[in-house]
């Protein structure tokens, strides 16, 4: 294995991608979709959490001054409950007799945390004590995520799928145009060619996945854990892409197949997008073990202890497709017959 040769190969692929409308379209697609969704559905995570308040006292004026919250004063307990239940506010605070916090089931983890922390501070300020403040908290209304958030898994899958597709399209093109033959009569080995393409795909998936999560305001916590799942998820699509790249004869063929097989990859994203679908159905699809953890980490604050077993399942899926890909590649490209 010689790194410099693989680097030349990848460098050349980058230049080619920037000059092909097909490749550019593929890379741009998830980014444009994210931007359009943000424009249509509003941004997530950037706006201040909204808090409805009913009651009297010093606390109210402190909260009204609070820059991290958007506070609205209500005139009755009933109207406040109604508004929080409907999801119009992320939370509602009933000041007396004992403080009670109502959290909307539709609010996001980030917003819940901000409200909780801000309230705790405000209470401390009023009482002048440094002790931990306890107040009753209740989640009301159905738990659910706004549309914007429910789209994130779908977009993340597209991001890693694009990485796999670009790799397979690039391999198909090299076989179609027979440039691969020219490359393979130089010192670079078939294994180096494949490794270069695979690493490039992995890199692309990681970058694109990160961009998508950032654009959707989802990369707020658990960065390293998310990177791990992005790597494992991209490995899956890149292995599929390499296989498709040596099996399929042209890019039209590839696109047709993706329309069919893509559904299998997208399905877990649809399950998250539509809570009406029984959620357990997603578990039968490999990509579930990629997006469900990312969703849990970014939206529910899940940590390693919650998602480790999903990483193991995803790793197992990777091992299976990689083994399959190795077999196909060996037969088609790395073995005795160099078929291009």
């Amino acid at each position: 294995m010689k790194f410099s040769r693989m680097f030349s190969m990848a460098k050349k692929d980058v230049v080619i991608i920037t000059r092909s409308s097909f490749f550019l379209y593929m890379v741009a697609m998830p980014i444009v979709m994210s931007l359009v969704l943000t424009a249509v559905l509003g941004s997530v995570g950037t706006a201040r959490p909204t808090l409805a308040v009913y009651g009297e006292g010093e606390l109210i004026s402190i909260l009204e001054e609070e820059p991290s919250l958007n506070v609205t004063i209500f005139s009755s307990e009933e109207s406040l409950r109604e508004a929080v239940l409907e999801g119009e506010y992320d939370g509602g605070l009933l000041v007396s007799p004992t403080p009670k916090l109502l959290i909307s089931g539709k609010s996001l983890l980030n917003e819940r945390v901000t409200i909780g922390a801000t309230l705790a501070n405000a209470f401390r300020e009023v009482s002048g004590k440094e002790e931990t403040i306890l107040f009753e908290t209740k989640v009301i209304g159905t738990e659910g995520y706004p549309w914007k958030v429910r789209f994130v898994p779908f977009l993340t899958i597209i991001a890693v799928l694009v990485a796999g597709m670009i790799i397979s399209a690039s391999l198909i093109e090299e076989r179609e145009k027979k440039t691969l033959n020219a490359v393979l009569v130089t010192p670079i080995t078939p294994l180096e060619v494949i490794t270069a393409k695979a690493l490039f795909g992995l890199f692309l998936g990681l970058i694109l996945g990160t961009i998508i999560l950032v654009l959707n305001g989802a990369l707020t916590s658990g960065f390293l854990l998310i990177m791990l799942f992005l790597i494992l998820g991209t490995t899956f699509t890149v292995a599929l892409g390499l296989m498709a790249g040596v099996v399929m004869d042209n890019i039209t063929d590839l696109i047709t197949r993706i329309k069919i097989f893509g559904l299998i990859l997208y399905f877990p994203a649809f399950v998250i997008m539509f809570p009406q679908i029984p959620q357990w159905l997603g578990k039968f699809f490999p990509t579930y073990y990629f997006i469900d953890p990312i969703f849990s980490i970014t939206q529910k604050g899940a940590g390693w202890s919650d998602v480790w077993w999903k990483a193991v399942v995803l790793l197992a899926c990777d091992v299976v497709v990689l083994a399959l890909a190795a077999k196909v590649l060996k037969k088609r490209m790395l073995g005795k017959k160099i078929k291009a």
């Binding site: 010689k2 410099s4 040769r5 030349s8 190969m9 050349k12 230049v15 080619i16 000059r19 092909s20 145009k177 027979k178 440039t179 033959n181 020219a182 490359v183 393979l184 009569v185 130089t186 010192p187 670079i188 080995t189 005795k336 017959k337 160099i338 291009a340």
Partner: protein
């Protein structure tokens, strides 16, 4: 290997390949020495490209063996690839890269640092160096193909119809480069169906037909042994011209020639060389070029 003289750079024995039921190359055995240009001449579908593919490690021989620079083509292709240049029959450049980017990419694959400008100048490509290959004419692309095969200053050149589609000046430029490389001690395996080219460049010519080598010798020997040299006599008559062809080796010819010279009004008289084309026809009953 002890001597440079007679060192076998390419060697095959019973080299065979079939695509399914099509027997493309049928038990061919030959060798090419250092500094030699071997012309591989045959009609479409004769098996020339398949032979090149086996010798350059793109196809694994199904029977027999081949060696290039002492390395077995099936066992150690990568050792061979370091030191050879291949000019493919089909144009396989990266269309979206420029001429320079295409060539530099291959320079990098060889891990070399080569100034490509002198090479480009030799085939008159300097003007197009920053143009994308997809915008070049076929002839220009063919010249880039040839330059690419030379990029690593190879010891052995495999050229699969390198002058196809070129104008006479460009074709001659490339032929001259091939001859210069030969003088530098490079070995060349040249396939072509241009018999003039084979005749002019090759030290030896192999005729290949239906996967078999039907003759292998110097162009002169092939023509001498198998071709017919003739004397063509053109005479003026009342109605116009009349022509008579006399085989040179026929014992009757001197007598008949003298007769004609004395009795007839001769317009022109000249000897006609046998061509490789005729030799090939005689051997196979087929034409080289369709």
């Amino acid at each position: 290997m002890m001597t440079t003289d007679g060192e076998k750079i390419i060697e095959t024995e019973n080299l065979t390949y079939s695509y399914g039921d099509t027997l493309a190359v049928d038990h061919i055995s030959f060798s090419v020495e250092k500094g030699e240009i071997l012309g591989f001449l045959g009609p479409n579908g004769a098996g020339k490209t398949t032979t090149v593919k086996m010798l350059t490690g793109q196809l694994v021989p199904q029977e027999g063996w081949g060696k290039v620079l002492g390395f077995d083509v099936a066992q150690e292709p990568k050792k061979i690839h370091e030191k050879i240049g291949v000019c493919f029959e089909e144009k396989n450049l990266y269309p979206r890269l420029t001429v320079k980017e295409n060539l530099e990419f291959f320079v990098n694959l060889f891990g070399l640092e080569v100034d490509i400008d002198p090479l480009l100048k030799r085939v008159d490509l300097s003007k197009w160096v920053n143009d994308r290959v997809e915008t070049l004419s076929k002839g220009l692309q063919q010249r880039v193909m040839f330059v690419r095969s030379m990029i690593n200053d190879p010891d052995v050149l495999f050229l699969d119809e390198p002058t196809v589609g070129l104008d006479p000046i460009s074709a001659d430029a490339i032929r001259n480069i091939i001859l210069t490389e030969k003088k530098k001690g490079k070995t060349v395996f040249l396939t072509t169906h241009n018999m003039m080219e084979a005749d002019k460049l090759s030290d030896r010519v192999a005729f290949i037909n239906e996967g078999k080598i039907v003759a292998l010798d110097t162009p002169e020997n092939l023509k001498l042994k198998l071709g017919k040299r003739t004397l063509k006599v053109k005479m003026r008559t009342e109605k116009g011209f009349e022509e008579e062809t006399l085989p040179l080796r026929d014992p009757e010819t001197p007598k008949r020639a003298k007769e004609l010279l004395e009795k007839r009004n001769i317009a022109t008289i000249h000897t006609q060389e046998a061509t490789l084309e005729e030799v090939f026809m005689k051997l196979t009953g087929r034409k080289l070029e369709q």
